[in-house]
């Protein structure tokens, strides 16, 4: 394997791994902030226990997000030096703005939240979690603006042999960036909702801390329901924009080979990249793809064959990742909608609770699949239409990259196993037991 492939694998691994932890940070911070806010407003100690219990899982997850994020920023320089030199004027500044305006806030206040229970008033303490949540959201915004620029470069001129910024406002406000931001953030919120619902379902099934976990479940359910609906509606708009801006990606997402009006969509198919066709097509319906992409059944949709072979993204991976993401997206709406109607008597629906428990990994899969669609679907470009991935890689030796790739694989796998084992362990244990008044008295008597 050459430096290019190894670097791509390494970057995919590092990003994918980072993206296992970041979405939960984004959504769970908001849920915890709401819990703590309710504690401040009502004085109900159960909300405080909720914030502490979910906070414990949050912290384990958070640290993994932090340490894996540090490597990402440096990997553009280590492995993608030519990319960095070519687009650093724009891309680099977005990363620097993210660190300065958002990541500092998040990392500083996480410590205040963690260590500050006895040092701050309840109100001030609850505020720190709001700051963490806001900082996480800002952070996601800047990173997605940077990624959107790779998907659809705007606000630049080619000068001095590189892309130079000429309209910062255009970069930050381009609709594609806003779409990606809403899409990714909603996904993160769904994931966090399902995380809380799944763990709560486990305890409700076991009839442990019923009120505690029903409350948690209901909060997470409302959150996940809202964003599941947002995700589907907005995902459709986002897709239409991809059709406009990245027609080759759209064609790969749908494994659509011929340029036609009334482009069809099939219920099932298997792409055949060698033969430039689809196998096992089931139920192709005329005009559906045209309708979805351009809101007009007669619209012409460019097929993969329209693009030179060396400008087509890998079809099979993009296609299946897209189908998985969309399928799961609809499933999330159904699951949360059903839960919404049963929310007051959840304990009477053990099958639903079991489904929710085993659904915890599904949003993780959906988010990784979405990321694959975005990044693999952009290939062979690193910056769409501007720079190919193969022209972006550093001049480094194969041995170096092979060694670091294996190191990433080993270290990250071990860390993931350790992190998820700890999360599962503490999720299963449930909240710390309430100190019983009788116990305190007993203690005094013994003394």
């Amino acid at each position: 394997m050459d430096v290019l492939i190894l670097s791509r694998l390494q970057f995919a691994l590092a990003t994918g791994f980072h993206f296992l932890f970041v979405p939960l940070t984004l959504g769970l911070s908001i849920l915890i902030a709401i819990m703590e806010r309710k504690y401040v407003n009502t004085g109900d100690e159960e909300y405080k226990r909720m914030a502490k219990f979910w906070g414990k899982l949050f912290l384990i997850n958070f640290v993994l997000g932090v340490v894996t994020g540090i490597t990402l920023e440096f990997q553009f320089g280590t492995n993608w030096a030519r990319y960095s030199a070519y687009v650093g004027d724009i891309f680099g500044s977005l990363l620097a703005i993210e660190a300065t305006t958002a990541f500092f806030l998040e990392s500083t206040f996480i410590a205040v939240w963690h260590f500050g229970w006895n040092k701050l008033s309840p109100r001030a303490h609850a505020t720190t979690m709001w700051l963490i949540a806001a900082a996480g959201t800002f952070s996601a915004f800047w990173i997605l603006v940077a990624n959107a620029w790779m998907q659809h470069p705007v606000g630049y001129v080619l000068r001095n042999g590189r892309a130079e910024l000429n309209d910062f406002f255009a970069v930050v406000t381009q609709p594609f960036a806003i779409q990606m931001f809403i899409h990714t953030l909603s996904g993160a919120f769904i994931l966090s909702g399902f995380f809380v619902m799944g763990i709560s379902a486990y305890h409700i099934l076991k009839k442990q801390n019923l009120s505690f976990f029903k409350r948690s479940f209901q909060m997470a359910l409302t959150f996940a329901l809202i964003f599941s609906v947002v995700e589907v509606v907005q995902g459709h708009m986002h897709g239409a924009e991809v059709a406009e801006i990245q027609p080759a990606k759209l064609a790969a997402m749908e494994s659509h080979w011929e340029t036609t009006a009334y482009a069809p969509m099939a219920a099932f198919l298997i792409p055949d990249e060698q033969g430039e066709k689809n196998n096992f097509e089931i139920l192709p319906v005329r005009g559906v793809l045209s309708m979805l992409a351009y809101h007009d059944p007669a619209a012409e949709v460019k097929g993969l064959k329209y693009f030179p072979v060396d400008e087509r993204p890998p079809v099979t991976l993009t296609f299946f990742a897209f189908r998985i993401m969309v399928g799961l997206g609809f499933l999330f709406v159904l699951l949360t909608l059903y839960g919404w109607f049963k929310r007051h008597k959840l304990e009477d629906y053990p099958l639903y609770l079991k489904i929710m428990l085993f659904s915890i990994p599904l949003p993780y899969i959906a988010l990784q699949a979405g990321w694959i669609v975005a990044e693999v679907g952009r290939q062979p470009w690193i910056v769409y239409g501007l720079m190919k991935t193969s022209d972006a890689v550093s001049n480094i030796s194969q041995t170096q990259v092979l060694t670091s790739f294996i190191a990433f694989l080993l270290v990250y796998s071990l860390l993931a196993v350790a992190a998820f084992s700890l999360i599962i362990k503490f999720a299963g244990q449930g909240p710390d037991p309430l100190p019983l008044p009788a116990e305190e008295k007993g203690g005094e008597a013994n003394a």
């Binding site: 932090v66 340490v67 920023e73 320089g77 030096a81 650093g88 500092f104 963690h114 910062f168």
Partner: protein, 337 residues
């Protein structure tokens, strides 16, 4: 002009990173040295626990600013220093995770594992940062295309290794002073005795480093054209004396500021001498990465300047507040880790 301002900001950001993360990396290196039992180790973790994460963001910012202001240099420097940089990142990963993971399973073997990660991660990061920065002062073999010619062995010159050793010792001094501030009793005595004992070695290494900089680098050539710069090594020596003085009168906060000053000045000492280079080439100075051949466009530099001028003071503001909030000694009831 813009490029020069950014050079200064770039140097300041790296210096601030070393000053801040320096004490928690140093405390990590001291974990096996100063602790007798698990409780001591927990105190050491808790003494740096509320700070390490915020400190490491200065690294992200220093890296981000290198990318934003000098993308050409970011590309050449980080691909040339590929292996040491990734080793630093892995070291920071395992020690960062150690803070959170260690406390969760009450098994001596589990704790031992993370203590090793904490020590090794802190040590490797401190050492390699020193090697890398000494390497930057001395220049590294990059050709005219900005490609690194050589291997990691070329980075391990005696001068660079001395730089690594100096960083480790400086951070250990900085960390032991911090632990003297944050702890009580036996552990505090051990930390303060350690600071006293290591001080002569750190100062001696600092002196040797300054002198060998004259032989191994071109730093002093630039100093010759701007003799006012000799103020930096002089202040550095003065800083070492200040540390000694404050340690002697057991004024630990002041000693900590002094050791921070010394770390900052050590960074400036070399970086001031390579200006306007960001990464000198040891093959031919023509191939060096400079603020002129690697800077971003004026527009980006201006936008980033506004961002930094507005936000860095805000960051300094809330981070100072956090240091103030957790200024007291760690006590039994504070033991979260």
């Amino acid at each position: 002009m813009l490029e020069t301002i950014w050079f200064v900001l770039w140097a300041v950001l790296w210096a601030v990173y070393f000053i801040l993360d320096g004490f928690d990396l140093g405390a990590g290196c001291l974990l096996p040295v100063l602790s007798k039992d698990d409780k001591d180790r927990r105190y050491i973790y808790n003494a740096t626990g509320p700070f390490w994460d915020g400190n490491e963001v200065w690294l992200i910012t220093a890296g981000g600013v290198t990318f934003a202001a000098f993308p050409g240099n970011y590309a050449v420097m980080f691909s040339a220093l590929y292996t040491p940089l990734l080793m630093i990142l892995f070291a920071l990963i395992v020690r960062g995770v150690a803070f959170e993971f260690r406390r969760h399973i009450d098994d001596p073997r589990w704790k031992k594992l993370w203590d090793i990660c904490m020590f090794a991660g802190s040590f490797v990061a401190a050492f390699l940062f020193g090697v890398a920065f000494a390497g930057i002062f001395a220049g590294i073999p990059i050709d005219e295309a900005g490609h690194f010619q050589g291997s990691i062995i070329n980075l391990l010159t005696p001068y660079n290794i001395l730089g690594g050793a100096l960083f480790v010792m400086l951070f250990m001094l900085h960390g032991s002073i911090w632990l003297a501030i944050k702890t009580n009793g036996e552990l505090k005595n051990r930390a303060s005795n350690f600071a006293k004992k290591i001080w002569p070695f750190v100062t001696l290494s600092g002196l040797v480093f300054i002198i060998s900089t004259g032989f191994a680098t071109n730093v002093f050539n630039y100093y010759m054209s701007y003799p006012v710069l000799f103020v930096i090594p002089l202040m550095l020596l003065f800083g070492f004396m200040l540390i000694w003085f404050f340690i002697e009168i057991a004024s630990w906060w002041k000693a900590w500021f002094a050791s921070g000053l010394v770390i900052g000045l050590t960074t400036f000492f070399g970086l001031a001498g390579i200006f306007p280079r960001l990464l000198p080439s040891s093959i031919n100075d023509q191939y060096s990465m400079t603020i002129f051949n690697s800077a971003s466009s004026p527009l980006t530099l201006k936008i980033m300047l506004v961002v930094v001028i507005v936000f860095i003071p805000i960051v300094i503001g809330y981070q100072t507040w956090v240091y103030y909030l957790f200024k007291d000694k760690v006590t039994e009831k504070d033991l979260i880790y």
